[in-house]
């Protein structure tokens, strides 16, 4: 508490530093500009990275780790789709290691699927809410690992068989909580059970249950959690199966299932066997790639900027060798020399990061307007400023240290 006095005794020498900087304006401006642009790129990149990672971490609703899917395509002339599906599901559901298996029209997060519009009132003139459709039987809830939070599951007698080109829809449906709330924003989701919604403008479906969460196939869709379940199996030549296994048994079960199904019926082809983790990895590949590229860019850019500062600082130390020697001879301590260069860099960096803050916002506005990105959160900017300050200080420390080691005797020599 008593050494406040010592602080004031240190002469920060801001005046001389500033005057010296003015003699080499261009050098200072170049570094400040570099810092500003580096900050602009880094802060915007970090922001993009964080946003993308958040998207990838959204809960899909299904058991990503222990689920997989495959396609069975019949080609033989005597191929009977409905019978094959029945047999396959019986085999799969009785296989040890499998929790449950279903036939489904589309795989969550896979990128391809089926969408429809639901209305709360019948008639073409009313607006529809878009939703992804999953056609599943009464095992759907268990296989997809979703929870019924209101109402009830489909009964086995509810399940219909969809023909190719069929227009008619079953009269029951289960909605996700998000879909229920989008259709009926005024009432709690639990009260949506028992309501009638309309598909194909006029065909009624009764909502018999609400599930907690399930994502649509299209990860870039704004209404990712708008999903409806329709109680159906499909009489299609090509059909998809979704299978959930016991924890950590997925890979062994996958191998077993592939062989089992391929051998059980020679009139069809088993293909596209893929874990949900891989499916998601494919759908988010663009995001993963962008994150890796931006990270690399940030690292390289920081190194380039830091090396630039090191180079220029070393150079200016070399140039001022004689003056530094003179200052040392006149009694300046080593720490005073270090402080001089650190402070000089701090002043330049300050100009850089202030300008950088403005540029960062400008680039963000540009990205918002051109690519529809979200606006950056304010706190990224002060954090970016502090990081760039630290980079500058770290880079200049080496040359400054070297400057401090210049012997006072140098002042007496002519170079």
């Amino acid at each position: 508490m008593s050494n406040i006095q010592t602080n004031t005794s240190v002469n920060w020498e801001i005046g001389p530093i500033f005057r010296a900087m003015l003699r080499n304006k261009v050098g200072a401006i170049l570094i400040a500009l570099q810092i500003a642009i580096t900050m602009t790129i880094i802060v915007n990149s970090v922001y993009i990275i964080v946003e993308r990672s958040k998207e990838m971490q959204r809960d899909s609703g299904i058991d990503n780790k222990n689920s997989f899917s495959l396609t069975s395509v019949g080609f033989a002339e005597n191929f009977n789709a409905a019978v094959t599906v029945e047999e396959d599901l019986n085999t799969l559901r009785n296989l040890p290691g499998i929790v449950d298996a279903i036939q489904i029209n589309a795989i969550p997060n896979s990128g391809s699927g089926w969408s429809m519009g639901l209305k709360t009132q019948s008639g073409v003139e009313h607006d529809a809410v878009g939703t992804a459709v999953y056609m599943v039987d009464e095992h759907g809830i268990n296989a997809l690992d979703v929870e019924i939070i209101a109402g009830e599951n489909f009964a086995p007698t509810d399940i219909g068989l969809r023909e190719v080109g069929q227009v008619k829809w079953p009269n029951k449906t289960i909605l996700t909580k998000a879909m229920a709330e989008n259709l009926f924003p005024e009432i709690p989701y639990s009260s949506v059970v028992g309501k009638t919604v309309y598909i194909n403008d006029i065909d009624p479906m009764i909502v018999i249950g609400i599930i907690d969460k399930l994502q649509a196939p299209w990860v870039g869709w704004n209404n990712l959690e708008n999903v409806m379940l329709s109680p159906e199996r499909m009489d299609y030549k090509g059909s998809r199966y979704f299978i959930r296994t016991e924890p950590s048994q997925r890979d062994s079960v996958m191998k077993q299932v592939e062989e089992l199904l391929a051998n059980s019926n020679k009139g069809r082809l088993i293909q596209g066997m893929r874990s949900i983790e891989e499916t998601r990895e494919r759908s988010y590949r663009g995001h993963t790639a962008m994150i890796k590229i931006l990270t690399t860019v940030m690292v390289i850019l920081t190194i380039v900027t830091a090396l630039g500062i090191v180079g220029l600082a070393s150079f200016s130390v070399n140039q001022r060798k004689k003056q530094i020697g003179t200052r040392r001879a006149l009694g300046a301590s080593q720490s005073a020399i270090v402080r001089y260069f650190m402070l000089e860099n701090f002043l330049i960096s300050t100009i850089g990061v202030v300008f950088g803050a403005a540029l960062t916002i400008a680039l963000n506005i540009l990205l918002v307007n051109t690519f529809g990105l979200d606006r950056i959160d304010w706190f990224y900017i002060p954090i970016g400023m502090v990081v760039l300050w630290l980079v500058g200080q770290g880079a200049v420390f080496g040359p400054a240290k070297k400057a401090a080691n210049i012997p006072p005797a140098l002042a007496t020599r002519t170079v």
Partner: protein
Amino acid sequence: MFGYYIKLALKSVKRNPILSLLMVTAIALGIGACMTTITVNYLMSADPIPHKSQQLFHIQVDSWDPNNAYSDDADSLPNQLTWTDATNFTLAKKALRQSAMGMSGGIIEPAGDDAKPFEASIRLAYTDFFPMFDVPFIYGTAWDSQSDTDREQVVVLSKRTNESVFGGENSVGKTIVIDGRNFQIVGVIDDWQPMPKFYDVNNGGFNETEQLFMPFSLKEELELPNWGNNNCWKSPDGEGYKAFLQSECINTQMWVELPNDLAKAEYMDYLNNYVMEQKKLGRFPRPLNNRLSNVMEWMASQEVVEEDAKMMMWLSFMFLLVCLLNTIGLLLAKFTGKSSEIGLRLAVGASKADLFKQHLLETALIGVMGGIAGILLALVGLQGIKSLYGDFVDDLASLDLSMILVALSIALLSSILAGLYPTWRACNIAPASQLKSQ
């Protein structure tokens, strides 16, 4: 003199090896980053059929919902046609060449007991598809228009399909089993991969060309499955495949070849008349709005270039800017260090112009070295892009000669620009003061 300056420049580069290395590295990194992103953008926005892209037109007609436009933009048009309209347009033969087209798929069963069946994608089209898009053939030809009319089970194979089923030999005249049906092979095409795959961008703008081609009329005849995008504003009137085909659902692309503006204007009239006729039948409830887009217009309207690629390119230009600022700073430092030498040269009679040339040459040398290293880095960068994005970018991540020239010119130009100010400053010193201080 030039040779002497080069010698001097090399000497100067060697004198400050670390500083020179820093500059070359900075330029190389900037050029490497820019070349990587420019290449990807350049290939994504390339003209896939340069000699004809002005004469090929994609057709759009507004057959959509009376209550809602196709997308948020009120003027927007559906990006595909209904099966009915595309078929009618093709059969009307109002253009030089025309083809409705769509995607399907089936299982090929190669002959022989040990050969495994496999799934193949099918492009359904009319015979005009092949001459219209200049598809090269190795064996045989396209089917004739009679096959389109008579719905004959004929097929054209891709080179790869022919290799996997027939070992690459001339298979014309043979039969191939697809989904349990016999098809007669009439032709095998050579490697053909337009980039972007302009004729059907809504099923993946950079996807591979289909493995089989067969007459579009077979879609109705054999009730072939509809692969690719299908979009409906209204459900089909009735159950079954026929009702689906005849519905207002859009799932078909359509291209026409119109050699000149007159032909284009006449075709536009034809489309407008067609829609007016259909309106009398109760279809096309929206205002008359038809569009013909040539290849590049269509690529632009469908935003084929990925936004991430564009964003990446912007960032890489900023990256290059940082690297150049870095280089300017380092050059400034370097040339200031040479001021006594420059002073001496000026004092003994060298002209400023000579010195200017000499130092500019030195920066150009650094630029060229940076550019060459940058091209190598770009190759690494493109490999990185390939490994990150997977197979589909294989054709989007290759460096061609023109790109290499662009890289070198950017490197040279930017390094000379970066060198201008430091050089100018170095040559504008008073020789006396430099000599005195020593």
